[in-house]
Symmetry: D2
Subunit: 402 residues, 4 copies
């Protein structure tokens, strides 16, 4: 079990770090201030486009994609530390064309898309010219259980007809979001794993309506945002179905492995950033005659945070290594382990950092409140903690079943 | 140690409950929708004024004030369950003229104000005609240690001159907010407990400037809000000082006892509301063929939440009882105990309820995100948990010191 | 909800405290040393008999029994603080004839015993002349579910025949233990709550065999001990059945309410004692130039322990009050709440105290290891935490069931 | 960072596993039963000697020692999984001559011993002919702070004179324990890190007295045991000092790195064993009509335990890798991280397993109580958790210090 990145990855990581320090981090505070001051925050500030161009030129583009030509041919293990590095910033992932859910959607198209689908959607996504969203979760049912899904994708002759209501469609508020991947029930009689289809839906298709943008813990997360979207008799050619009817579940499984690695590594980046802020603050501020770092249990909490982050990172690296070497089917427990462990670790570390910042920690002056919200959301998104722990337990118990 | 409320309190509590169920709760969802839809949410919707009038007419007014004439002469123990009842709603406290920080400010004026101060500020506050704010916490220092305070209130002849910057001045965004209580350093040479003064400052005094309104975990909390306020050479007659120069600390101590009871009981109301929502949701929603209530550890978590709430409520009742019977000076540990215990209990219960709601829990469709933010904020406001635990420990250790 | 004890209880509690300080606590360390040095610790040291005589003479006898004549007519609420006071010592309960499981067994006989049963067993138990045990838990099944019970108590003509194997029969190692209450299945066809019987079994009845004495976390807990006991064709007259065949479940329910109050209050006494030791130790010992009390998070932990104990005590008082005023049937949730909350609270507080004592805390030089074991055991005995939390949740959810 | 063991280590680990399954595990239950039944458990049962001979013959001997000739030349990373494998059993470490504190003592002699010291003590220790103990912790002071040490090792001419009292000298009860390493203050005026000396003391030297054997949480841990030992004017030739006077601190530092890896990996073995028992039990036992594994939150807890163990193991492997590649001086934080994280992880997992076993878990029928005690002790031994967290925090904060 070798966690060392390839030489190529070491080189890219070094350049990525320099780019982050030189190009991204210096402009980020001003970016957020500017965005916060706008009447309509649902737009892309010019600086993003400039940075994207620079990143692409620097060869720091589509790093997530394991393809030699379209990306840089990096393994999950290679990419993981880069996701962590980007995760320290809220804008970095987009700049390197590595932001969710576009990464997952690109992977789906890369692995399962037809040539036509690739030409139409994968190409502009890889070029960072458009963005996309993923429409799976539904407001009316507990979506942790996929069999609850009520939306339908019915094949009628040469067409597929979509109906249903989705929400938490992240990124749909972005002005460049042109396409969504919609998941719906195609054949209720089929085997449990072959009932659903994934369909590529241009956002401007008649019948698609963004009902509203949702706040997550008070944050609208513009310009990406989280949408509630209704699909009413949306008709598309059958060729819009990815990999054919009934393949939705299979695609979803394949999509989720790397996606969870990315999410978790970005969270580790957030947690590291929070810990750094906590350390700096507790050295700078004084109360009762001593720096906060020397007061009460603060130092113990800092030590504990370091330990928690280290353990979480190693667990994610192990899951990445397992995906690379054993494939998703033999890494199910590993992937669920990180999904159950990392968001709540990050939530705790960030909460600790907020506490050390006093009121400032909850304000927009520090990225902690937004970071906390991101971590909290991931305890639910892509399956709640409880579902992942249950899967881990099921596989554990299976070893001893008579 | 008798926790039974007086007969009078039982009667008022019953009427309060009826008013909440008949008048407040039915209109609250629409109120929040309407407010959320407004371009400028810093205003009072007419329904609030109507409900205030009704509440006052019904004798459900200023219940927090232990005065027979101005309030209803209720003890802390009597009032505690009413604060819990109001705490289930975000708008109720204002409707009954029982919202922070006005309650604390009215108490200060009631106990320490001059006749002139009472006539000018207490009267309209008690009538619900104006609102107020409290300016203590500062952005540049760790305010948990009061001796860090940098703002000054210097007596010059017949005047007092204020300078400094305060933040988290809650309620200052309200259009009716006409006065703030400002705390500043008057005499750095005096004994540690006699250095600070509290000053009544009309919001429109020259030199007072609301620099900006702060978000708390993404929420602007309009129309109350949290302000960052600068005071630049603000000149007021010396008579604006409450109880005379150097009395700030003494007043603060007296103010905080009942205020912490109120805060904690409202949080218990919030936690109860969250638990109710969690129960209802977990009975209604199904996954994997069973209601959420029967899945995995959910029921254990519900049981644990009930136990945690019960313990917290009893602890607050004990602190209220202690305030009533032994006074603030002999209830310091009790008051710090609840301040350290209740917000984090509420945060945990609400977090659990959010998790059971999936994505909905973090959205504005449920009051959980706002409730969570309220609980989280109170782990910092009025002294962070750590400071209160340290005080409890200090008093505990004092029993055994040689 | 008045938690004040009656005047009579106040007086007894004061005398009890004096007796503890003057008579019990001074001799306890020597008692444990002497016992530890014996080859056969399964005996009663003379000092116990002397103290029992003194306690009885002082009117500090059978305080647990709510009967005016046989005990002192104290309510559960009255007795609770006395159980806490005794709980600080491992030998005190026996000295006041208030130790488990004799208290529960005496209550069973008091409420359900025939005159003959009372004359034969209740009288000498009340006099402290004999001891008893309770045989319910079984090694072969998960006893948390009473319907799993395999032991049988079959009525054959005028006789009842017992078979089965029980363990964790606490107190059976005591040389004065003369009788056990055995619970077994009488009629598998009867309604779930009327299948079992409780039978009084003299320890020397043919067929009763103490197979072995069990260690609990390394402790044999002599001279009380925990036995594994086999019953092989044990024949007794039918009159040995308490309250007649099939009443076992009903009796068990009635027995458990007060018993859980006692257990929990004794644990609170243990936790208080542990906290006192932690405070004293952390003031006396120094490391890195400061007393432990000033190092790192120690003081926070002490504060937290105080808060946890306060909350737990209040919860138990509420359950006692509920038992007194509303009866066991309407106090089911309250009783399960304390059973789920208090042992794990005590375990945590004692663990913290052990940590502050370093290696000494785990040795026999301090009562912490034994206290910890007592608390840990009660997370399982009388129903594991999980079962009690589930009951609390069931009653909580029932409020919202359609 | 490559966690893969060398080919040689893979081969040895495979043979070790086979030996454990074929030779050790089948005899262990009977071993414990036999030992428990003895009047004097302070002796070595013949089976141990037989197994030691077999292990040595099989080349499974002194695996911990990184020397090619005396051991097998394994790195810390290579040896770590073997320590885990042995850790599942309480007797295995001795069988492979890999038990604490002999391993640490052998390392000290290997790295710092004179030729004479090696001939006299290292040789028979490596041959498993004698055992040893380590005398550092003292009863009268907080030993977490080494500067508190009161014992003295004063050089007088050609002799060194020892005085002081030590406790928790583990292994000193073993009949083969012939030598102890004693640490004492030699020169109070020297630099803080050069004040202490380590001295080799034959157990039968006049003035050495085992005052008593200590129980740890009720367990005497025979035949190893934990002794309290007094040293009164113990005179030895100066050549008994290891590496010369004043080198105690330096040796201690070097000794602790690998030792903590070993301890932690053995604990992970214990935790794995506890989890296996928990899984098996929860599949076998039923309550309320379902196996325990399907009841309430049990499955979540099993999932959580798997996640916790995985993270802990990876953290220890990282520390081992760091020791191997960067040396102890650059691995201080890593080593303290595992020491702070692993024992409490193991304590929690074992506590969960005990709970799933009901009363059986606390009895001697399962190795859980002993395992729990081992884990609990290591939260104190070799420095309490708090000290290690503080060290981790100190190094974390140092990165940001101006």
């Amino acid at each position: 079990m070798d966690f060392s990145p390839s030489d190529k990855a070491v080189d890219i990581a070094r350049r990525l770090d320099r780019f982050m320090r030189k190009e991204v981090e210096p402009v980020e505070p001003e970016y957020h201030r500017e965005l916060a001051a706008m009447d309509d925050p649902w737009q892309v500030l010019p600086v993003i486009g400039e940075l994207k161009a620079k990143a692409r030129e620097a060869g720091l583009w589509n790093l997530f994609l394991p393809d030699e030509e379209l990306g840089e041919g990096l393994s999950n293990l290679d990419y993981a530390p880069m996701a962590e590095r980007m995760g320290r910033s809220l804008i970095a992932p987009e700049i390197f064309n590595c932001n969710a859910p576009d990464t997952g959607n690109m992977e789906v198209l890369y692995h399962y898309g037809s040539d036509e689908q690739k030409a139409q959607w994968l190409k502009p996504l890889l070029a960072g010219e458009i963005r996309s969203a993923f429409c799976m979760t539904e407001p009316e049912v507990a979506s942790a259980d996929a069999t609850n899904m009520q939306a339908t994708a019915i094949v009628e002759g040469d067409e597929v007809v979509l109906n249903g209501r989705k929400w938490w469609s992240t990124g749909i508020g972005h002005p460049d979001c042109k396409v969504v991947i919609f998941m719906g029930l195609t054949d209720a009689e089929a085997d449990r794993h072959y009932r659903h289809s994934m369909v590529l839906v241009p956002v401007d298709t008649p019948g698609v309506k963004i009902e509203r943008m949702l706040n997550a813990m008070g944050f609208h997360d513009a310009p990406y945002g989280h949408g509630e979207v209704s699909f009413t008799d949306v008709r598309l050619p059958k060729s819009a179905i990815i990999a054919g009817p009934g393949k939705g579940f299979e695609i979803a499984q394949g999509r989720l492995g790397p996606g969870r690695i990315h999410h978790c590594m970005r969270l580790i980046g957030l947690a590291e950033h929070a810990l750094e802020l906590a350390c700096r603050r507790s050295l700078e501020r004084e109360a009762f005659g001593r720096p906060l770092a020397k007061l009460g249990g603060n130092s113990e909490k800092i030590g504990q945070a370091r330990i928690a982050i280290e353990q979480a990172r190693l667990l994610v690296l192990k899951a990445a290594w397992s995906l690379d070497h054993r494939g998703i089917a033999r890494s199910m427990s590993e992937v669920s382990q990180i999904k159950a462990a990392v968001p709540s670790m990050a939530q705790d570390v960030i909460d600790m950092a907020m506490q050390l910042h006093g009121g400032a920690g909850m304000s927009d002056d520090f990225p902690l409140a937004a970071a906390w919200t991101g971590a909290r959301a991931l305890r639910i998104a892509d399956g709640p903690d409880e579902v992942h722990k249950a899967l881990v337990a099921r596989m554990e118990l299976a070893r001893y079943r008579p």
